[in-house]
């Protein structure tokens, strides 16, 4: 599904100074697998997620990333989305005046068009989204509000997961979706993600905390530090990190 080889990336700051953020990432996520990427602040986890989605602020200096045999770096962000990549943003942006339902319908039909599927008409779309919202225990009022405008932190994250359920990606990347969630919202988000889990899809969960992984149980856990994956293991690695912190790993470097 997702293959990343020796990926290096940097960013230019305001003084045009180059700062390296990713220093050779290798990652292989197979169909049906859930991977968790953990690590301290500034280790490059979110950068990796954003680069995979096509954020142009970062410059990829070396390496490659493939999704289902497609070279991601050749594709515009919207083509990556069409190819089945979905990023649940850490900070979903507000789009004032744009109706949530209108936005989602445009997104779903745009992606369907790329996948050579006929567009959903208003009735089919409404039926579908109402079902998904029920799954997520979301209020239907969401649909008539502007995209993320005036949403609470938890509402924004639930909205991301709702979008994910509607777009049915092959690869979903969740960027700190658990941050700022209370326990009820966390469970709802996890339920949504788990409902998408099947042998055809892969999920990459970027998180600081083990907590989310109690609900979305990963097959593989990676630890990222200073732009590199320094350790990988099973789900028990997350528990170990919870207990010991990241310090013991850093010192072995």
């Amino acid at each position: 599904m997702l293959i990343i080889k020796n990926l290096h990336a940097s960013i230019r700051d305001e003084k045009q100074k180059t700062k390296k953020i990713l220093c050779g990432i290798d990652l292989h996520v197979k169909s049906g697998e859930v991977h968790a990427i953990m690590g301290p602040n500034g280790s490059g986890k979110s950068t990796l997620a954003n680069i995979l989605a096509g954020q142009k602020e970062y410059e990829v200096t070396q390496g490659e990333a493939w999704l289902d045999g497609k070279n991601l770096m050749d594709l515009e962000p919207e083509s990556r989305a069409a190819a089945g990549l979905f990023l649940a943003f850490q900070y979903p942006v507000e789009i004032p005046g744009v109706n949530n339902m209108y936005f989602l319908k445009a997104a779903v039909n745009s992606v369907r068009k790329h996948r050579q599927l006929p567009p959903l008409d208003a009735m089919d779309f409404l039926t579908l989204i109402k079902n998904k919202m029920k799954e997520m225990e979301m209020d239907e009022k969401f649909l008539s509000r502007a995209v993320n405008e005036g949403f609470s932190g938890g509402e924004k994250k639930c909205n991301e997961i709702l979008q994910m359920l509607m777009l049915e990606p092959k690869l979903a990347i969740l960027d700190e979706t658990d941050s700022g969630l209370d326990i009820d919202a966390l469970q709802r988000v996890a339920k949504g993600v788990n409902s998408l889990r099947d042998f055809k899809r892969s999920i990459v969960v970027v998180t600081h905390y083990q907590r989310l992984l109690n609900y979305i149980v990963p097959d593989v856990v990676h630890v990222m530090m200073k732009g590199k994956i320094i350790k990988s293991g099973g789900k028990e690695l997350a528990l170990e990190l919870e207990e010991k912190g990241y310090g013991w790993l850093g010192s072995t470097e």
Binding site: G54, E78, R80, F86, V98, A106, S110
Partner: protein, 480 residues
């Protein structure tokens, strides 16, 4: 990649830029008392009209062009403008659509303006002004049944001189400003509306202005009178051919709302904006003002300004009647080298008068967009209220947004609120939309439409969709 797309769109033609080859009666360029006598005579005007025009002209001669707006353009040579051009007709004017020159009907068809009464916009009555004259007015019979007068200004002068004399120049006197004086002296046609007491106008009224002839100025005048307890919704649209020379459009619109009357005036302005280098385009220097003369009167201006090389206008409301209401909703877009200096004036005179100003400016390319607004509360306007919200969206690094609010409050019981902000279209918003599978152009149009939604909601439904499309065409791919 964005730039490539931008270029592609820039080279797209202004779709209303064609010229109609039609025989016209056209004056030689230049302005003099003789020209004014000539216009007045052609229109068979009563003496009071001629005298009024001449007074306006004499006054205009004493003025020099104003320079205070935040716009740049070379001096206009007023002796080089043609002040009258009309499609040639065999007799006094067409009595029915059958007599209108088929070329003209074809022109309006191409513009998407139905002059046949069974059209796409079958619920809208249209007065079509072509260069200096009105060529057709639809649905007159149906409107007459309700007692509504909707006709060209020339016809109103012939048929209802008393109404014209009573109201002409009472809201925008010829002494108001340079362009109002010029318009008063030479205006050749326009629309006239009178809604009698207690009548709710049964359909939308609309005037469509088309400039066709070269080197010609269009000077039209619209007068709308809503008598007590009446209601009318009126829409104005405009286009012009593509030419390398600038052309002047100096119109005056006067609205009078008596007790409990309501006038809703909407504009979708799409004059030729000039090319991507800033060559050509219309100078749109317009004076629009409404007076709420009676208690509980309401005047609401909604404008979508996407065309013209330079737009310079401030649709305003004089709130004389107690409890009267003034509203101004505006979207002004400047792309390439377009300049807009627009806004409103709300003059509070009556007690408990209320006004709302919602202004949205969008700048792209090298466009310069200025909001200029005055809220004046006189001492006797106790408990007046105003709410102003003024927002600008920047789509390129080379465009500009400017805000000049003037607020004068002369009593302690009034309440004024002013909110303003400027934002650049967010790279993160665009990325968010694209990550969800939307193309750049869909994402921009969605974000911009969201930004304008509050104003679009004020447009009559038939036109809200058109306005949205117009904005898309004017903007596509303009993020640099």
């Amino acid at each position: 990649m964005t730039n490539q797309y931008l270029k592609q769109i820039v080279n797209k033609n202004y779709q209303y830029g064609f010229v109609t080859a039609i025989e016209s009666d056209t004056f030689a360029p230049g302005l003099s008392e003789e020209v004014i006598h000539h216009i007045s005579k052609l229109k068979n005007e009563p003496e009071f009209m001629l005298q009024w025009r001449l007074r306006a002209y004499q006054y205009w001669l004493t003025l020099s062009p104003p320079r205070w707006a935040h716009v740049n353009f070379p001096n206009i040579d007023y002796q080089n403008i043609i002040y009258y051009s009309a499609p040639r007709v065999k007799k006094d004017g067409p009595a029915s659509l059958e007599e209108v020159d088929p070329k003209l009907l074809e022109t309006y068809k191409k513009l998407g303006i139905p002059l046949h009464e069974q059209g796409r916009l079958a619920g809208v009555a249209v007065d079509a002004v072509f260069d200096s004259v009105s060529v057709a007015t639809t649905f007159k019979a149906k409107l007459a049944e309700a007692g509504v007068i909707f006709c060209s200004f020339s016809e109103a002068v012939q048929e209802y001189p008393a109404l014209v004399e009573k109201y002409l120049g009472t809201v925008v006197p010829y002494r108001d400003n340079f362009f109002a004086a010029l318009n008063s002296a030479v205006f050749s046609d326009g629309s006239f509306v009178y809604i009698p007491k207690g009548v709710r106008c049964p359909m939308e009224l609309s005037t469509y202005f088309r400039i066709n002839a070269a080197n010609t100025g269009q000077f039209e005048r619209t007068l709308i009178i809503a008598d007590a307890d009446s209601h009318v919704s009126y829409l104005e649209g405009c286009t012009a051919p593509m030419r390398d020379e600038n052309q002047l459009h100096a119109a005056v619109v006067e609205l009078v709302a008596l007790e409990n009357a309501e006038i809703k005036y909407s504009t979708v302005q799409n004059w030729y904006p000039g090319d991507e280098e800033g060559r050509g385009g219309i100078y749109n220097f317009v004076t629009k003002r409404g007076a709420c003369r009676g208690k509980h009167a309401k005047i609401s201006w909604t404008q979508i300004e996407t065309g013209s090389a330079i737009t310079w206008k401030y649709p305003s409301v004089i709130l004389q009647g107690d409890d009267s209401i003034g509203e101004f909703y505006s979207v002004a877009l400047t792309n390439h080298h377009q300049q807009a200096d627009t806004g409103t004036k709300m003059i509070h005179i009556g007690k408990n008068t209320r006004s709302t100003i919602i202004s949205k400016g969008i700048s792209a390319g090298f466009g310069q967009n200025t909001y200029r607004g005055l809220v004046r509360v006189l001492p006797q306007a106790l408990y007046a209220r105003n709410y102003t919200q003024c927002e600008s969206l920047l789509l390129s690094a080379t465009c500009g947004a400017h805000t000049f609010p003037y607020i004068e409050v002369k009593n302690p019981t009034s309440q004024i609120e002013h909110e303003a902000y400027t934002s650049k279209i967010g790279a993160d918003q665009l990325f968010y939309c694209r990550q969800r599978g939307l193309s750049i152009e869909d994402a921009i149009s969605m974000i911009v439409n969201g930004f304008c939604k509050r104003v679009f909601n004020e447009l009559p439904m038939e036109f809200a969709v058109e306005a949205q499309k117009l904005l898309e065409v004017s903007l596509e791919g303009s993020v640099g």
